[in-house]
C-alpha cells in the first residue's frame, strides 16, 4: 500500500468511527446551549462554542453521524437506481435503452445544483426528500457508468451462452453481468459518495439542506459564518472537516483505481 493510500484509510477510518459513535462520544447534546457565544478553545470546550453557545465538538460529532449518514444513504440509493436501470438498459437494449439513455441525457443537461434548487423550491424540507433528490440526480452518472461497463460484458460469449440456455433476465444481470462489472463501480462509489457529501454540504450551507437545529457540517458553516469577520476560525472547523473527508476518500479511490489498473498477480 502506498503512503498516501494509508493516510486515506486512516482519515476514512477516523470519520467512520466518528459517524458510528458520534452521539455517544459527544460530551453535550446536539442542541444544548452550554456556554456563551463563540467562546475560545478551552478544556471544557476543546473546539469552543458556536453562534448560540453550543459546544462545537459535540455538534461536530453529532453532525458526523447525520451528514455522513445522509450522504451515504443518498449514494446507496443512487447506486441502486443507477445500477439497476443501467444494467437493464444494457441487457435489454433496443427501445428501453434508448428511452432511458435519452432521459438521462436530458437530466444531465441541467447542472445538478440548479435542478436541485428548482425542485427544492416546491418540496418540503425533510431529510427523506433530500436523500431522494440527491440520489435521483446523482444516479444519472451511475447509470452512464453501469450501462457502459455492462455493455462491454453483455457482448461476451458467456452471456450469449446464458441467453441461449434460456436464463431469465434476473440471472443474466445478477449472475453474469454484475460480478464482472463490479471493480470500476466500487471505485466510482467512493467518488459518488464525495459528490453526494459535498452536494449535501453545499445545500445545507445555502440553508436549503438539513434544517436547524439539527447539527450538519454545511449548516454549521452557515450558522457561524459571521464569526470570521471577528477573526475567529469557528466556521472553518466544520468546513475543514468536510474537506478532509473528501481528500481521504479520494486518496483511497486513487489507490483502488491504480491497483485495479495493474495486472493482477496470481
Amino acid at each position: 500500500m502506498t503512503p498516501s493510500a494509508a493516510i486515506g484509510f486512516v482519515i476514512v477510518g477516523v470519520y467512520a468511527l466518528a459517524a458510528l459513535l458520534g452521539p455517544w462520544l459527544a460530551p453535550y447534546g446536539e442542541a444544548e446551549i452550554v456556554a456563551d457565544v463563540w467562546e475560545p478553545f478551552s478544556a471544557a470546550h476543546p473546539l469552543g462554542t458556536d453562534n448560540l453557545g453550543r459546544d462545537m465538538l459535540s455538534r461536530l460529532l453529532w453532525g458526523a453521524t447525520r451528514t455522513i449518514g445522509v450522504a451515504l444513504a443518498a449514494t446507496m440509493l443512487s447506486f441502486l437506481i443507477g445500477m439497476s436501470l443501467g444494467y437493464l438498459a444494457a441487457v435489454v437494449g433496443g427501445w428501453l435503452d434508448q428511452l432511458l439513455s435519452r432521459a438521462v441525457d436530458a437530466l444531465m443537461a441541467i447542472p445538478t445544483l440548479i435542478f436541485a434548487l428548482v425542485v427544492l423550491a416546491v418540496l418540503p424540507p425533510s431529510v427523506t426528500i433530500l436523500v431522494l433528490v440527491i440520489a435521483v440526480l446523482d444516479s444519472t452518472r451511475v447509470f452512464r457508468l453501469a450501462r457502459a461497463v455492462a455493455m462491454d460484458v453483455v457482448v461476451m460469449d458467456f452471456v450469449e451462452v446464458a441467453r441461449l440456455r434460456g436464463e431469465r433476465l434476473g440471472w443474466i444481470v445478477f449472475r453474469e453481468v454484475l460480478p464482472n462489472t463490479l471493480p470500476p463501480l466500487i471505485a466510482e462509489f467512493g467518488l459518488r459518495f464525495c459528490f453526494a457529501f459535498l452536494f449535501l454540504s453545499s445545500l445545507s450551507f445555502l440553508g436549503l439542506g438539513i434544517q436547524p437545529p439539527a447539527a450538519d457540517w454545511g449548516g454549521m458553516v452557515r450558522d457561524n459564518a459571521n464569526a470570521i469577520s471577528f477573526g475567529l476560525v469557528v466556521p472553518l472547523i466544520p468546513a475543514a472537516a468536510i474537506a478532509l473527508l473528501t481528500i481521504g476518500v479520494n486518496l483511497v479511490v486513487d489507490w483502488q483505481l491504480e491497483r485495479s489498473a495493474r495486472p493482477r498477480r496470481t
Binding site: F115, V119, F205, V233, L236, A243
Partner: protein
Amino acid sequence: MHPLLRLVVQRLLLGVATLWVVSLLIFAGTEILPGDVAEAILGQAATPEAVAAIRRDLGLDRPAWERYLDWLFGLMRGDLGTSLTNRMPIAELIAGRLENTLFLAATAAVVAVPIAIALGILAARFRERLLDKAISVLTLSSISMPEFFIGYLLIFIFAVKLFWAPSIASVYPGMALADKLYAVSLPVATLTLVVVAHMMRMTRAAIINVMASPYIEMAELKGLTRTRIILKHALPNALAPIINVVVINLAYLVVGVVVVEVVFVYPGLGQLMVDAVAKRDVPVVQATGMLFAATYVLLNLAADVLAILANPRLRHPR
C-alpha cells in the same frame, strides 16, 4: 454542404432541442409535487385565502401544459413573469444581477484559463518531477474542498488577518472598473482555485497523450529540446481537448458562482436564486434556473462546436 458546416449545424440544432427539453424539465421540476403547489409554498401558514391568492397568481386553475406554453412564450419574448414576494417584474429583478454574475464569472475565467494552461504545460514538461507531483497534490485538494471552505479560508487570511482585500464583495452600478475588480478579488480567487485544477489536469493529460505518438519520437530523435517539442509539436494537436475542457469548466464556473456569491454576499443571480428558493418564490426560481441552465447548455454547445473546429482532420476532409 461542407461536412464541417453540416456537423456544426447539426450541433446547433441539437442545442436548440436541448434548450427546449431543459425548459420542459425546469417547469416540470416545480410540478412534481403530487399535491397542491400553493399549499406547499405556504407550508403550515396556509390560510384558505392565501392559498386561493397564490393559486390565482400562479394560474393553478389552468392545466399545466397551458401554463407551460405561456411561460415558454413569455421567456422567448423576454417576459419572465412577476415575482410572488415583491410583485416586481422578474426581468427587472434580474437585469443588474445577471450583469454582476457574468462580470464575476468572466473575470474568473480571464484569470483561471491562462494559469491552468500554463501550469498544465509545465506539469507535462516536467512530468513525474517535483513540480508535477506538487501540482497533482494541489489538484486533488482543490477538487476535494467545498467552495465555501476555500472562500472563507481566503477571507480569513486575506481580509481578516492581512487586510489586503474586502471580505464582502459589494458592487453597485456606476462603480469604476478598478474598484469593481478590487471588490471581487477574493471571489475571483476562490472560483479560480475551484476550476484551475481540472483544466490543468486535462491540459497535462492531453499533451502527454499526444507525446506518445511516433511523430513526437521523431522530433525527439532529431534532437529538438523538450520545451520546443511540447510547444511547437504537441500543443497544436492537443488543442481540441484543451479547448473542450476549458469551455466545459467555464460552464461549471457559471454554476459554481451560486455558492461563491452567497459566501461573499455578492449581488448576483445565484444569490437571487437561493433567496427565491428559501422564500418559495416559484416564478423567480424558474426564471433564474432557466437562465443558469441555458448558459450551461450554450457553453457546452460552444465546447462541442469549438472542438469540431479545432480538429484539423475535420477541417480538411478527404
